[in-house]
């Protein structure tokens, strides 16, 4: 297709994978040629039989049987070859796709948070799952079918030319007609199939939504209205499928009709040629046999164009992802200092996009073991501050220093071990609770996990679950309440025993009773740790040694709760406006 459109490097990224299997691919090509030739020899063989042994003065029955026996051998050979070739091809394709998938996923995992914040997660998932599957289809469908189709076409042409050049050239006109018609129909079909897919998707999405919200439909007594809405979508789908069917049948019958007309023409011209003894009868027969075999490969090739198209798009997307570079890199010669938990922000600036400064000249010194609360309206920069500390992002200007060393000079592993985060939306993975708590790191002993879960008070509810710690969490842990999920996430952080613990709105979406358990947990774990708490709830912030108030990316106030209230400043205003009691940020 139009290769100019591809960004540089699209096939560049592809080729090393193929290079690795170059010899095997050439070998496969040889196999396919052999198989196709054996299959296509049939009309030619009949021609040979007729012209040499049957329609001659002294027919030779033994020779015919011998020919049949030889062909039987070839056919059995071809059977084995087809089987072997197919498996080999698929295996090669699978190996290549596997390698691409693993490389792609590794690369994505190495990217920094900026990439994930700026790219819709759906797109990344599509990239890893569907785009690579499109490559898979390329190898398993496109390559096999196209190779077979093209080779068949050329072999038929070859056999025809060997039979009789003039008639062969006439037949090629027919091929041209078939190819043109095929392209034409495939283009229409591609369009209408796209329409069907999108209409089906619309209908199914509507259905899914209404099944989910059936209670609402019933309570508002709108069944009839929704039924009508569904009917519209369903009918649109019906129309498209009927149209598709009509075109499909038109195409199919066109090829049938062309076949019959081709045979009639052959009889007309070929028959005359036979009478004039310009060609033998066997040749005419072989032409009749071949002419119908034109259609299948042509249709096959034109159908594969869809696959090619989606492969190109998929390849482009994969290549683009692979070109993304991680922002956060470990400096060579990085080493960790003795960890105590002291944090210093030194004139730290952060802009997610150039020119849009989110954090502005942050200067802050936190002593080991201190408990600091962070408050501010949504968008004030609280989470961004934590993004810096965890090195999700690097500062645009200024630095973040932990225990006397710029965090960019820390080995990443040590930094992650030192800074632990409990987030607002507790992310859990499918697997057992135990595995979730140790984040699937088998090397972490079970008793350490149990101790952490006891410490935060998660154990009572875990033991109430059917399999205790071995309970398998289903998708997104939907069976657990928000509070329970939050406790698990808390316990998970404690398994890794971080010296610095960040609680990022960890209590925001909880009901009061779960919050009480968490409050208790916060209290318990804060011993011997530097604790940074972002919270909206007054009750959480009040306990802290001091509170940092942020507004528009700047620190506007800091001090203890009562100091801040006494100051009658921004904190007090926040307070009265009720923002401190807001339960979640939108």
């Amino acid at each position: 297709m139009n290769t100019q459109r591809l960004p540089p490097g699209t096939w560049g990224f592809f080729s090393p994978y193929i290079q690795r299997y170059r010899l095997r691919i050439i070998f496969l090509l040889g196999l396919i040629i052999t198989v196709v030739t054996i299959d296509l020899a049939q009309p030619y063989l009949v021609k040979e039989a007729i012209d040499r042994y049957i329609a001659v003065a002294n027919p030779n029955a033994a020779a015919i049987l011998r020919m049949a026996a030889i062909y039987l051998g070839l056919v059995l050979f071809s059977f084995g070859l087809t089987y072997y070739q197919d498996i080999l091809l698929q295996y090669t394709g699978q190996s290549i796709v596997r390698a691409i998938r693993v490389d792609l996923f590794k690369h994505i995992q190495s990217l920094s948070l900026r990439f994930f914040d700026q790219t819709a997660s759906g797109r990344i998932i599509t990239n890893v799952v569907n785009d690579t599957e499109a490559l898979n289809n390329f190898f398993t469908q496109f390559l096999t079918n196209t190779l077979r189709g093209v080779l068949s076409l050329f072999l038929i042409m070859f056999f025809m030319l060997r039979l009789n050049v003039t008639i062969a050239l006439y037949c090629f006109i027919l091929v041209l007609a078939i190819v043109t018609i095929s392209f034409f129909f495939q283009r229409i079909l591609r369009k209408i199939n796209g329409q069907i897919r999108s209409r089906l998707a619309t209908a199914i999405a509507f259905l899914a939504e209404n099944l989910n919200g059936m209670a609402i439909v019933q309570i508002f007594h709108q069944e009839a209205k929704q039924q009508k809405e569904f009917d519209n979508r369903n009918q649109a789908l019906l129309k498209a499928t009927i149209k598709e069917n009509r075109i499909m049948l038109l195409f199919f019958n066109f090829t049938e009709l062309f076949g019959d007309l081709g045979v009639a023409a052959l009889i007309w011209f070929g028959g005359q040629a036979v009478i004039r003894e310009a060609i033998s009868f066997g040749v005419l027969y072989a032409f009749v046999g071949y002419i119908r075999r034109f259609f299948q490969p042509v249709v096959m090739i034109t159908q594969q164009l869809n696959t090619l198209q989606s492969t190109i798009v998929a390849t482009e997307r994969i290549a683009r992802t692979l070109q993304e570079q991680p922002d956060i890199k470990e400096f060579s010669g990085a080493s960790a200092p003795v960890v105590r938990g002291q944090i210093t922000f030194e004139h730290a600036y952060l802009a997610y996009r150039p020119g849009q400064t989110i954090l502005n000249d942050i200067c802050l010194a936190i002593k080991p073991g201190e408990r600091v609360g962070f408050v501010g309206a949504s968008g004030a920069g609280k989470t961004s501050l934590m993004n810096l500390l965890a090195r999700f992002y690097d500062t645009t200007k200024g630095s973040v220093i932990i225990d006397g060393k710029d965090i960019r000079q820390w080995p990443l592993v040590d930094l992650k071990r030192t800074v632990g985060i409990v987030q607002q939306d507790a992310t859990l993975f499918s697997g057992t609770i135990l595995d979730n708590l140790r984040f699937f790191r088998e090397e972490i002993p079970e008793d350490r996990v149990l101790a952490a879960s006891r410490l935060v008070g998660a154990e009572p509810f875990i033991l109430k679950l059917p399999q205790g710690y071995n309970t398998v969490l289903s998708e997104r842990a939907s069976t657990l309440s928000a509070g329970e999920r939050q406790l698990l996430s808390f316990a998970r952080a404690m398994v890794f025993d971080p010296k610095i613990l960040i609680l990022d709105e960890a209590t925001a979406s909880l009901d009061s009773e779960s919050e009480a358990v968490l409050q208790e947990a916060i209290h318990k774990v804060s011993a011997g740790r530097t604790l940074l708490v972002i919270a909206h709830r007054l009750s959480t912030v009040q306990q802290m040694d001091y509170i940092v108030v942020l507004d528009h990316g700047k620190i506007v106030e800091s001090g203890t709760h009562s100091e801040l209230l006494g100051r009658q400043g921004y904190y007090q205003r926040l307070y009265q406006s009720g923002i401190l009691l807001e339960e979640a940020v939108f």
Binding site: Q90, H221, Q226, R441, D511, E582
Partner: protein
């Protein structure tokens, strides 16, 4: 077998169309069989040298005419049959949707939506294949096979016919045998792919956690495991499909070899003519495709039983909540809600969710219900809305048993806001005006103003016409809830029910919305919340715990009684229970709080300062 009735009754209903279509397809097949025979005669005449140019022209014309007729007959027959197959698909989907509209929540709790969708998708498609491909192929293919066999046996040689067709008959058998295996293995590899997709989704949506813990290596390992499973399953699939892909051509080739060898031999021995020999080879090539299709149809028929049974079962589900038999109250709801000694458990469960609940709400009154998760608050609403039927004589509206109202009347009388503020992915206007066929813009705007979402909507790209969801704006949790409340107000029903509908709205906005709601006169309002600020102004408050009422009264009374309610109150307002001395100050009786001491309390429960309107 009952499922087959769906197909039979449809086919029977359209029997003339089907008869006509099938006849055309069969006629087309029979004509197609004539062409090799013609070519055979052509060969023989050519052989005998008895063919003139005009004789050739005759043959050519005959083939053209037969070709055209057979193509058009087959074409029109297929169009008829296929078209009706697609209409059946459409009708089945309509019927399913109609059915689903009548089924109650009890049903939806038992079913996964994904499962139901697969009925509408794949089961329906299977039925379509059955009534299109199934019918076409079995009639068209079988008549072709029969006609070819007839020609071969009567005009040519039965021994050659049997020998040549022998291997071909194996084709449907192979398909019948391998087809389902291949399909199962295909599904297994698809499942492996799905499981990989889930792993990817998890690790991408949880990337902050992965990065925070430096856990990329673990993610990659998990991913690699999934990939290996995919490769394994795919290879298994390939083994089967390659076997299939090489066996079918082998059978066709074996048939060809027999015809070439044995047929050539018979030709030389003058048992059959050269023309017969030619015709034989052509028949063999012609029959391969219908036989392959026939095998596939056998698989469709086999798989269809399951789909048909699922569908017919689904279409026969009896809704758990329906209008009662006999005379029903044909009057509008005014708004008095009374519950008497209600004990309820969900059908098919062992545990009472509600035990001995009794209360009354008079028209225009507001009832608040609090309780922790699982205390039975939502169940109470389910019963009032008759999403589940309560036991007889326990739930009354305007003094009459709720069961004696027609569902339509009852639901006309109640407007409801669900917990998650469920919205449809239509426009904002259509969502707010959901209770109307054609939503009224002005009324929707008015409702949006009451719920403080008007300004938000005005900021959307196409204000009230903005699509919600995928293609439009994504609403925040709070916006969703406020739109859902606007939808309730738009409906203008005498009874309002809000099920924890303000949980994602900040307290300040919550306060204003509640105030606005109180401004709407003559509405019986039931507010459920675990946030006490949402219900403290209610005329009456019920405290639920494990399905029982453990406290009732208004806010002040409940605070005084120092039960669960007052505990929750202190916890939520950030005070400790020990702070007895300030306790009275928080209650409504105390007017405005301006002094230095009370200022501290003011921020704890900011809406205390707005008591004037309470």
């Amino acid at each position: 077998m009952s499922g087959w009735r769906i197909v039979w009754s449809y086919v029977y209903k359209h029997r003339f169309v089907y008869f006509f279509g099938v006849m055309l397809v069969a006629a087309s097949s029979l004509l197609a069989v004539w062409i090799p025979r013609l070519l055979g005669s052509f060969t023989d005449s050519l052989q005998h040298g008895s063919l003139s140019f005009s004789g050739i022209a005759n043959f050519a014309w005959m083939i053209i005419v037969i070709g055209i007729i057979r193509v058009f007959a087959g074409w029109s027959g297929r169009i008829l049959v296929h078209r009706h197959g697609r209409i059946l698909t459409y009708k089945l989907r309509q019927e399913l949707f109609l059915k689903w509209g009548t089924l109650s929540q009890a049903y939806y709790h038992r079913q996964s939506i994904g499962n139901l969708l697969s009925h509408a998708l794949s089961d329906v498609e299977v039925v379509r294949e059955l009534v299109t491909m199934g019918i076409n192929v079995s009639i068209g293919g079988l008549s072709m096979l029969a006609a070819a066999l007839y020609m071969m046996v009567i005009y040519m040689d039965w021994r050659l016919a049997l020998a040549g067709l022998g291997p071909l008959v194996a084709i449907p058998v192979i398909i019948r045998y391998l087809g389902p295996k291949i399909r199962n293995q295909f599904l297994r590899s698809q499942a492996a792919l799905g499981s990989m997709a889930q792993t990817v989704e998890e690790s991408i949506s949880g990337i902050r956690a992965v990065k925070a813990f430096g856990n990329e290596r673990v993610s990659i390992n998990r991913f690699e495991q999934k990939i290996d499973t995919i490769v394994q399953e795919k290879i298994k699939f390939v083994r089967l499909s390659s076997l299939f892909g090489s066996l079918v051509p082998l059978m066709a080739a074996l048939g060809f070899i027999i015809v070439m060898g044995y047929g050539g031999f018979l030709t030389i021995k003058k048992v059959i003519s050269l023309g017969d020999f030619i015709a034989f080879t052509l028949y063999l090539a012609m029959l391969r495709m219908p036989l392959e299709q026939f095998g596939r149809v056998l698989n469709i028929i086999q798989g269809a039983s399951a789909s048909l049974n699922r569908l017919s079962e689904l279409l026969q589900v009896v809704p758990a909540v329906t209008d009662r038999q006999g005379a029903l109250l044909n009057r509008n709801v005014r708004g008095e809600v009374k519950i008497e000694k209600l004990t309820f458990r969900y059908p098919g469960t062992e545990r009472d969710v509600l035990t001995d609940i009794s209360f009354t709400v008079k028209p225009g009154q507001t009832l608040g219900i609090v309780g922790s998760i699982g205390s039975g608050k939502t169940t109470l609403v389910d019963l009032l809305l008759r999403l589940y039927d309560p036991p007889e004589g326990t739930v009354f509206i305007d003094g009459e048993d709720i069961l004696s109202y027609p569902l339509a009347r009852l639901r006309q009388g109640i407007a409801y806001v669900p917990q998650d503020g469920f919205l449809f992915s239509t426009t904002v206007l259509e969502n707010i005006g959901f209770s109307d066929e054609e939503p009224d813009r002005e009324r929707a705007e008015h409702s949006a103003r009451i719920t403080m979402v008007y300004d938000d909507i005005k900021r959307f790209p196409e204000d009230f016409e903005t699509e919600i969801g995928e293609r439009g704006v994504r609403l925040s949790g709070g916006q969703k809830q406020r739109v859902a409340i606007a939808r309730m107000i738009y409906k203008d029903a005498p009874i309002h029910i809000l099920d924890d509908s303000l949980s994602a709205v900040d307290t300040k906005t919550e306060r204003i919305i509640l105030k606005n709601l109180r401004g709407i006169k003559n509405k019986t309002t039931i507010v459920i919340s675990h946030r006490l600020s949402a219900i403290r102004h209610a005329d009456k408050i019920l405290v639920l715990e494990e399905g029982r009422i453990v406290g009732r009264g208004n806010h002040a009374e409940l605070i005084k009684s120092s039960g669960l309610y007052s505990r929750l109150w202190y916890m939520q307002s950030g005070l400790t229970e020990g702070a007895e001395s300030i306790k009275p100050v928080v209650t409504e009786e105390v007017g405005s709080l301006q002094s230095g001491l009370t200022e501290g309390i003011g921020f704890i429960q900011p809406d205390v300062t707005e008591e004037g309107d309470a």
